[in-house]
């Protein structure tokens, strides 16, 4: 046994050395810089920050480089890194209403105050591969227009003024904010924990779950009330300063889903909502998150909860791709002892089966 372990060590060391070589690839090709990844693969960086649950573009770029572009591996690296730093505290909640908007669209109202702003989007592109990008492409300078100073209120705020949509649940006085990185998850989980879970959840998983609600597994008739992307300022109440200190700005995407109405004996019918928020420009992620957030409110809204997307234990237990990949991929680690015992059991069962099949032959042989 001891010998086998030593042999494994050398093989592991050499495998990692080979990995480093493969990661670098053909050395006559220039090496990628972190700036190149951050600037030119920005949406990968955004995804790694969101699901790695750590806003730091440079670290996310490093993780992507180290993981050879495997984003789930990169997310894993970022999660592991965050465990090495002390936590200073929690920020003041960001105000997405005060976002410096770079994109803002609504599929519910054409003429929203502040307007429909397309920003940098893949929407309306023809999805044809562009050979011009293959080398040395220099884009035209962006067009400019006079910027409006008019505010861009959230669409849900506009609907809210007429009581046409439910208002956001407010925190109870002195209530603490749930944190699933500090306390183990219990069910049923409150909306703060659900949103934290979804915000760091796998985009592909949330996309499939959100899609399933559209296809009828927990249908909730969504409209994209508003999607906005841009920068918000972050403030942190530091103990030593005694006031909320500006930390700088982060890029966020927010999606307000407007869903089918509900009413009760005491309240008139109004639209319900689902909410999505993520780091960077993460539109697919926040839209999926908002669909799933709304689906998970089924019980609260008195709907039948029969579909997977409405089952919070199912969704929240399977949304984390670091946990998921850890459990799936651990199958390739040595299970020799486990397997030996399975094998022993199987041999025993097969012998019993053979013995039962041919009792006469056995008897004869015994005699």
């Amino acid at each position: 046994m001891y010998v086998a372990v030593k042999g494994g060590e050398r093989a592991i060391e050499n495998a990692h050395r080979l990995l480093a070589h493969k990661r670098r690839g053909d050395q006559s090709v220039p090496e990628l810089t972190l700036d190149q990844i951050s600037e030119q693969l920005g949406l990968s960086v955004d995804r790694v920050m969101s699901e790695g649950s750590l806003y730091d573009r440079e670290l996310a770029a490093l993780a992507i480089k180290q993981a050879r572009g495997d984003l789930i591996e990169a997310i894993f690296l970022v999660r592991a890194f965050r465990a090495t730093l002390p936590r200073f505290g929690a920020s003041e909640p960001v105000d997405t209403g005060a976002m410096r908007v770079q994109r803002r669209v609504s599929s519910t109202f054409k003429d929203i105050p502040g307007g429909q702003i397309l920003g940098p989007t893949f929407d309306y592109t023809h999805r044809l591969l562009d050979p011009a990008l293959a080398q040395g492409f220099v884009p035209d300078a962006p067009a400019t227009a006079e910027a409006s100073t008019a505010p861009t209120p959230r669409v849900t705020d506009i609907l809210g003024r007429d009581g046409l949509i439910e208002s956001s649940p407010q925190a109870e006085e002195g209530a603490s904010v749930g944190d699933l990185t500090r306390e183990p998850l219990n069910f049923p989980a409150d909306r703060d924990l659900r949103l934290q879970n979804l915000a760091r959840g796998d985009e592909g998983f949330l996309l499939a779950m959100g899609y399933s609600t559209q296809r009828g597994y927990g249908r909730n008739h969504p409209f994209a009330g508003e999607i906005r992307f841009g920068e918000v300022e972050v403030e942190f109440v530091a103990e030593d300063t005694g006031f909320a200190v500006p930390l700088g700005a982060i890029a966020l995407t927010e999606c307000q889903m407007v869903n089918q109405f509900k009413g009760s004996a005491t309240e008139g019918p109004c639209f319900t909502r689902g909410y999505g928020l993520a780091f960077g420009q993460s539109e697919r992620k926040t839209m999926s998150m908002a669909l799933v957030d709304r689906a998970l409110r089924a019980r609260e809204l008195g709907e039948e909860a029969l579909a997977p997307a409405q089952d919070e234990e199912f969704v929240m237990s399977h949304s984390d791709n670091v946990q998921a990949t850890g459990f799936v991929e651990h199958l390739k680690l040595p299970h020799y002892v486990d397997f030996q015992s399975e094998l022993g059991l199987l041999r025993k069962l097969r012998k019993e089966f053979t013995d039962a099949q041919a009792p006469d032959a056995m008897k004869e042989a015994a005699e």
Binding site: S53, L54, Y55, D56, L85, R87, F88, G89, A90, S91, E92, P93, V94, T96, G97, V101, R103, D111, I117, L118, G119, P120, P142, A143, T144, A145, E146, A147, S148, R154, T156, S167, S168, P169, V177, G178, L180, T181, R191, D192, L195, Q196, A199, R200, E233, V234, F236, A238, D240, T241, F243, A244, P246, L247, G248, I250, Q256, R273, Y275, L277
Partner: protein, 154 residues
């Protein structure tokens, strides 16, 4: 002016300076401070990096929830004359946090407050505004101008 108002004014001034400095690069702040005859000062807290949990609100305006963490650096600097400055910034650039702390201490100083505003904060603010205006102008060009096509039925 009573003492409370004075305190609040200074706090607002410090916060406004920090809001500009947090958006600048360490190199840009250092370059602005280079032409400055700095008073004696020392690190009260050496630069360190850590995490701040960023919070959002349900629906944008409801109860808070934890969105995810961010790296944050902090430092504290004390001038020989006694003013203590604090520096906080997103990211892992400890030197930037130290420079912000130094500026925060200078902002509070009777002798240096005016000069640091004029020579460091104001030019960086101007630079930040130019960048933001450029970004806003580029964004504005992507705003949709709807026009209605009248159909037969009216």
């Amino acid at each position: 002016m009573d003492r409370v108002t004075q305190h609040n004014n200074q706090q607002a001034q410090r916060k406004a300076a920090m809001a500009v400095l947090a958006h600048a690069e360490a190199g840009e702040i250092a370059a602005r401070l280079r032409d400055f005859t700095l008073p004696d000062h020392q690190d009260l807290r050496a630069p360190e990096s850590g995490l701040v949990m960023l919070r959002g609100r349900v629906g944008g305006d409801g109860a808070p929830f934890n969105l995810g963490e961010a790296t944050v650096s902090r430092a504290a600097v004390r001038l020989a004359s006694g003013e203590v400055g604090f520096g906080y910034t997103l990211g892992r650039d400890g030197e930037k946090a130290r420079l912000i702390a130094l500026c925060d201490a200078l902002v509070q100083s009777r002798d240096f407050g005016g000069a640091v505003e004029r020579d460091v904060i104001a030019p960086l603010r101007e630079q930040l505004m130019v960048r933001r205006e450029q970004a806003a102008a580029e964004t504005a060009a992507t705003k949709v101008d709807f026009y209605t096509m009248v159909r037969g039925e009216g």
